[in-house]
Every structure is written in C-alpha cells, then in structure tokens.
C-alpha cells in the first residue's frame, strides 16, 4: 500500500482539517455507490479510507509518523456496497426510480413500453402506489358518521365508511384500494382527505358547537320551551323568563364527538326577533308602559 499522505494527496505537515477535506473530496469521487459501473473505484476508495483511518486519527497519525505502525495499521473490514444489490430483481424493484428516463416512454415507437416500464422488470412483484382523493362532507355527516359511495375519477366506485367525529383534514386510509400491484404484488392504499364543509347553523369550536336560535319577544319575556336543532336531531330547551339577546344556554354532551369517546357541548345563543309587521296592540302597550320609559340598557 502506498504512503497514506500520498494516497490522500496531502503534505506531511497538513492540518487535520486539510486531511479531512482531502479525504471527503476523494470519498465523493471514489465511493463505489457513486460509481456503480467502475470496478476499480472500490480499490481506490478502500485505499483512501485506509489512509484516512490512520491520518484522520491524531494518535494513529503520530504513531505512523514515529514509525510505530505502518500504512496497514488500520485494518479495513470487508464490506459490500449497495451497487452489489441494486441489480437484484427484488430489492432493485423496491427502489426503482424511472425519473431518469420516463420521458423516453412517451415516444411513439416500439421501445415506448420498454422505457415507460410497461414491460416491467422480469417477474419481480411489487406493491401498487397509493391513490389520493378528497371528499367533502357536511358537518352533520362528520359528527354522526355514515356511509358514502364515492365515484372515482378513473371510473368505478368506492364504498367509504365515514367514522363519527371525523375532522377537517383527516385522512382515511382504505387498504388495498389504491393502484393495483405489479405482478401479483399487493395493491396500494386509497388515501381520502376529508374536507368538512362549513355549516349555516352550527359553528365548530374545538369539540363544542355554537348555534343561534331566534325567539319571540313573548318567549323572551315570559320564558318558553323552544325547539333547538342539534347535530343529532332536534331537542326541546327551556328558555328562562326575562332572557335577552346574546344569552347563552348550554346543552351538555350535544357537541361534536371528542377523542375520549364522549361529546363536546352545544352552546345556544338566543336572539330576540320581532314580528315582520308592526302590531298595534304591542305599540299601544309600549307607548303606555311606564317602566319601559325609564329603562336604558346602555346605562346600567
């Protein structure tokens, strides 16, 4: 073996940093996996690595300089490189990447299928790719779950079970519903990204939902039992007497399904709504209502 200083192409007095730089440069040039067709690169890389094993280590370098060890001082283990396996059908197929020549397959000649990979690698089998879809669901559907039959852009349909409590952006994985495998390999998966559409009635805040419920002035003053929509159907809710617009009532457990198997709450915000047409009797009452004349809600 040659003198390690010569192998790395550095002077005897080179600094450790210079030795490292020289070795890195050689490694990048000579690494067998970066030169898969060059049989000689392995020997050269080995020699550079052996030289660096001595000179890269200050102790060993000092011993070498004092003549205590020779250039074979650092034994090199026998190793194999990825290039030795890349041509292997099974492992090669896993790492197959047609990026370098896929465009050759567009040529309208007898070689097109050869380059597009249609005439695929021997009889190696490998898994089909995952296919990605996007599905829009209503907030109620997301809360309650359900079944949907989805038509695929490339034809065919997909039976999809939407789990109750699915969230916006969540991805459902259907095993084996993606692209078919090659040569009896398993099919890929279908990945469905859920997009929960905003709802006119309900707004979602974490696990809780908020709804605005209109009430009449009579219901506001005297109190009433009113019908309120929830994600799981309508319920009756008591509006206490003397309720103002903005008063918020809580329906426990009527919100969105949470992670712990329960539900958030629903907040019902009351809103007093007058009749569309003015009422003479109400006008007369208000005109003569003494206490109403002095009450100023902006000044309490």
């Amino acid at each position: 073996m040659a003198n390690p200083y010569e192998t790395l192409g550095v002077a005897k007095g080179a600094s450790q940093k210079e030795i490292q730089t020289a070795y890195r440069k050689l490694a990048k040039k000579l690494h067998p996996d970066l030169n898969p067709g060059d049989a000689a690169s392995e020997e050269k890389f080995k020699a550079a690595s052996a030289a660096y094993a001595i000179l890269g280590d200050e102790d060993k370098r000092a011993k070498f300089d004092r003549g205590e060890i020779d250039e074979t001082g650092a034994g090199q283990q026998q190793r194999s490189y990825y290039r030795d396996y890349a041509a292997d059908q099974a492992s090669g197929a896993r790492y197959h990447n047609a990026g370098g020549f896929a465009d050759f397959g567009d040529r309208d000649d007898i070689f097109s299928s050869f380059f597009s990979g249609a005439r695929s690698r021997g009889n190696a089998s490998y898994q089909g790719g995952d296919l990605q879809y996007r599905l829009e669901v209503s907030l109620r559907e997301a809360a309650n779950g359900g079944k949907r039959t989805v038509s695929l852009p490339e034809g065919g349909t997909l039976e999809l079970k939407i789990p109750a409590g699915v969230r916006d952006g969540q991805i459902l994985r259907l095993r084996g519903k993606g692209a078919p495998g090659h040569n009896d390999g398993p099919a890929g998966d279908a990945l469905i990204e859920i997009h929960v559409l905003p709802d006119r009635q309900f707004s979602l805040e974490g696990d809780d939902v908020r709804t605005e419920v209109p009430i009449s002035i009579r219901e506001a003053v005297l109190g009433a039992k009113v019908e309120v929509p929830t994600l799981s159907g309508a319920v009756f809710l008591s509006v206490p007497p003397n309720s103002s617009t903005g008063k918020t009532l809580r329906l426990k457990g009527k919100g969105f399904p949470n992670k712990h198997g329960g539900h958030g709450d629903q907040y019902v915000v009351l809103k007093i709504v007058l009749q569309g047409t003015p009422d003479a009797e109400l006008n007369e009452f208000m005109t003569n209502w003494e206490a109403g004349k002095s009450h100023d809600p902006r000044r309490t």
């Binding site: 070795y23 690494h31 660096y52 990825y82 090669g92």
Partner: protein, 104 residues
C-alpha cells in the same frame, strides 16, 4: 432481519432508522408492524452513513443523492436489458447499430 438487528448492525439509533424509512431512503419489506430488512438495505444504510460521515453531506443532500442513485440504477438496468436484447440480434443488425451509435 428486524428493525433492532438492522440498527445493531449499522450501530444507529432506532429513531435514525425511522427517519430514513419516513424519508423513503430505506424501504423495508412487509407491513409497518413487522418491517424486515435485507442485505441490500444494510448496504444502502452504509452508503447513507458514508454520505453523512465521510463526505459531510447533510439530510437535504442525502435526499438528492439517494434519488439520483436510484435513478442511475434503474437506468443501468434498462441499459443492461437493451444491451442484452441487442446481443441476441443478427450480427448485421448489431453492426448497423454499432455504426449508427459511433456516428452519434
């Protein structure tokens, strides 16, 4: 070999291997709950360690290198098939091809 044995062979942490798998630098065989690794994956792992250690390449660089190495091997495979196919042709065809390529 399983995940543990792979990590022991290359002397890397499990989290490192998981990162490699996530980046698809290493594509194990089998399902996620029982991944297995082959000699080719070990050799690939050594290449990654060489890139990081001996060549000072960072993660982004490894991504590029691994991708190009895979493209290169796939190309070599196509080229090999092409050469094999040419070798089975009539000698006159081979000569004609040789002349055409030398002109190019």
């Amino acid at each position: 070999m399983d995940e543990l044995e792979y990590c022991r062979t290359l002397r890397i942490e499990t989290s490192t291997l998981q990162m490699w798998v996530e980046e698809r630098w290493i594509i194990p065989v089998g399902s996620p709950d029982a991944f297995s690794y082959e000699d080719a994956d070990v050799a690939r792992g050594r290449l990654i360690l060489d890139l990081i250690g001996s060549m000072g390449v960072n993660d982004a660089g490894i991504d590029v290198v691994i991708d190009l190495v895979d493209q290169l091997h796939s190309l070599r495979e196509r080229m090999r098939l092409l050469m094999d196919a040419i070798a089975t042709q009539d000698i006159a065809v081979q000569n004609a091809l040789g002349r055409a390529l030398n002109r190019g």
